[in-house]
C-alpha cells in the first residue's frame, strides 16, 4: 500500500494568511498530480473554509487556526480546517446559500462553494468551543500518470 502523507499547519486568524493557506494546500496537493481545474477547486474550498474561520470564529480577536491536509486511499485529499472560536449556533442554517452574518464583504456562498467543489463536506461546531470543517476530494488518476 502506498505510504500516506500529511501536513499540519497552525497560523493566526489574520486575513493575510488566506492566500498562504490556499497556496500551501495547492503545494501539498501537487503530489497527486491534479489537473489545473482540480487544483483551482482545492484552493477555492480552502480559501472559503479559512476565511469563515477568520471572519466568524474570531470576529473581534486573533485566534488559532489549524489546517491539516492528508492523502487517503492513494488519491483522496482530505482537508481539515479547525478553529477554537465562537462556534456556529445552527450549522444547517449556516450552510444554506446566501445565509451570512458577515456583512457586505461576504456573499453567503462559502459553504455552497465548498460543497460544490469538494466530494464531501462535514461541519462540526460547538458554540463557545469552535468549528471543524472536514472536506474530501478525490483527485482523478490520469492516463500516463505514474
Amino acid at each position: 500500500m502506498k505510504e500516506e502523507n500529511y501536513i499540519k499547519l497552525e497560523f493566526p486568524s489574520r486575513s493575510s494568511n488566506e492566500a498562504f493557506a490556499r497556496a500551501a494546500a495547492a503545494a501539498f496537493a501537487a503530489q497527486l498530480d491534479p489537473t489545473l481545474e482540480e487544483l483551482g477547486d482545492v484552493k477555492t474550498a480552502v480559501s472559503e473554509a479559512v476565511t469563515n474561520a477568520i471572519v466568524h470564529a474570531y470576529p473581534d480577536a486573533i485566534g488559532r487556526i489549524v489546517m491539516r491536509l492528508r492523502i487517503q486511499g492513494g488519491n483522496t485529499l482530505e482537508i481539515m480546517v479547525k478553529d477554537f472560536g465562537k462556534g456556529i449556533e445552527n450549522v444547517e442554517e449556516a450552510r444554506k446559500p446566501l445565509f451570512t452574518t458577515g456583512g457586505s464583504e461576504r456573499s453567503g456562498m462559502g459553504f455552497t462553494i465548498m460543497e460544490s467543489f469538494m466530494d464531501k463536506l462535514r461541519v462540526r461546531s460547538v458554540p463557545g468551543k469552535g468549528t471543524t470543517v472536514v472536506m474530501q476530494r478525490a483527485i482523478r488518476l490520469r492516463v500516463g500518470r505514474r
Binding site: 486575513s15 493575510s16 488566506e18 492566500a19 490556499r22 489545473l36 481545474e37 483551482g40 477547486d41 484552493k43 477555492t44 480559501s47 472559503e48 476565511t51 477568520i54 471572519v55 446559500p97 457586505s104 464583504e105 461576504r106 456573499s107 453567503g108 456562498m109 462559502g110 455552497t112 462553494i113 460544490s116 467543489f117
Partner: protein, 104 residues
Amino acid sequence: MTIAASCAGGRLTVYLGGELDHHEAGGAIRSIQELIDEHMPRLCALDLSEISFMDSSGIAVIINAGRKMKAIGGQLCVENPAEQARRVLETSGVGKLIAVASNG
C-alpha cells in the same frame, strides 16, 4: 491585487487583476464605489481577465458594485473571467442577476 480603470462614452471598465479574496475584498469594494462616484457611468464592466484566483469574496465585490450601479440608475456586467473565476461565478448563481460576458 491590482485595479485599473478606463471610461469612455458612459462606459466605465474596471480591470481587476491578481487574487481576489476576503483580504482584498473590502479595498476592492471601496475602490470600485469611488470609481463609479467619480465617473457616474451608465454601464460599469468588471473585467476579470487578469484575476488569477477568486473565491466567494469576489461575488460580494460584484454584488456590491451591482447595487451601487442600480442606485445611480445604471447597469453592471462582468467580462472575461478565467476558468477558476468562471466556476465560482457559476456555482454562486450570480450570472442570473448580473450579465457575464466572455470575449473568448
